[in-house]
Amino acid sequence: MLQVENVTRVFGQKRAVDNLSFSVDGPQFVGIIGRSGAGKSTFLRMMNRLTDATSGRILVDGRDILALKGAEARGWQSHCAMIFQQFNLVPRLDVASNVMHGVLNRRSTLRTMFNVWSREDILRALDILDRLGIAEQAPKRAEALSGGQQQRVAIARALMQDPQIILADEPIASLDPMNAQIVMDTLKRINVEDGRMVIANLHTLDTARQYCDRVIGMRDGRMVFDGTPAQLTTDVAREIYGADDSFNEAATSTSINRPDDSAAVAALREAASLA
């Protein structure tokens, strides 16, 4: 379904993404982890065609989406939803309008400019908001909502696009643990119930372990790990983040649950023995 072949992006002298290759069959929940500047965001932005690749191919159902131009590229964007860390909604427009932006590529530009939507579009947007539990926010301005609610609006906009693939760039990095869990649960639900592929950049290991079917680790633009969450041991995590023995993931865990799963307990014990 998705094949990434030797994708590279060079910024000046820096190879932000360096010869990245992997393939995903079927609607998996793929997590990409790595420290800041590892190339995670650049890769997602290339998939969504917000950033151009320097070389390589990304095949989706056999079609190279990196080669698309103009209206065809925008057509691809409309079928490949992106969720951002800072939500990237239009703050002064109401929530339902923001959700309906998901289909603007398939509607007349003039009608969209004047915010004239068909009855079906409006009802569908409201249904999606209802499914995510925020239908009563529909007439409010997006800026009036809390961060967690705004991110759910962004997910609703993504669902409005009816995409095969949903890309999420650090979707919970600006949210508190409670909202982070709601947003991740929502993404997982979409992944399981609708059968849509989700590729999410995550910056916490516990989230990656809890939600992902598969985890890809990146360091300095290269892939350094590709496996199941179970294979993601503390040693592997140290390798991905380039950390030494003092690295202790329990210290930065953002899970709302107490760190009682075995990995975190092991990490804590290790930390205690080092201290």
């Binding site: 339902a96 004047f114 915010n115 004239v116 939507w117 009855r119 409006i122 009802l123 569908r124 409201l126 249904d127 999606i128 209802d130 499914r131 239908a135 009563e136 529909a138 007439p139 669902l159 009816d162 119930e193 609708d194």
Partner: protein, 291 residues
Amino acid sequence: MTDMTRPAHDLTGLDAIRHDYLRMTRQRQLYTGVLILVFIVLMVAGFDTADSRNAGGFWEGLNQIFDFPADVISEAIEKAANLPGHIMGALPALIETINIAAVATLIGCGFGTLFAVLGTRGLALWPALIPVFRRITDILRAIPEVVIALVLIFVMGGGPVPAMVAIALHTAGAMGKLFSEVNENVDLRPVEGLASVGANWSLRIWLGVFPQVLPNYLSYGLMRLEVNIRASAILGFVGAGGIGYELRNAMTFGQGRFDEAAAIFIVLFVTIVVVDQISSAVRHKLTHGGQ
């Protein structure tokens, strides 16, 4: 959406939301429609009034719009050999015009900065006097440059100094307004940080505000330079010297000296393009200079 599984109990709630939202969109569309209608009516009515008051009428005059440019261009092409000479001849006057504009922009931006800082809420040294400084900039903006220049020329006699003063006063008013709008968007946290280590007002502004606003100030200032070159050329028409004076002479002589007018237009156009290119390069460097 493929499957829209929804618990049955909140159907009434959703129905209410649907109903309300649809009603709201209908209302909004009605307002938009009325607004567009008002806009069109105003356009048509305003145009009609203007057209009926006009001496010649718009539609009759429309085909004559290009008569003057056509005359100038055809004569300039006829006497193309004279153009380089005329362009060289216009250069000293051009330098005078640019000088007037540059000095006026510098002085005007200086006073504009002062008015802006003193007239911005949250930054002002004397908050009670904010309205005073705001009104001063309003007054400076309200009086057209030509009027100030004419009064000053009457008092001081013709020459570049009255033009410079006139443009500087107007620039101070305009920049005071623009700069204070930039100031309003400033992040106050560094200012608070400086206050916490005991900085006085001038240091708080100098270290906390100026580094944030300088790129914007400079970009507005460079754009103002462009505007002022045009203004200084126009003031030449009323006796302030510079290229405007030459242009007026060439144009009022009419047929026969249009080649000279064309040369001056070319010189002015090239000047504006050069200033624009330089200022956009500088602005680009300022805003993306870090990378």
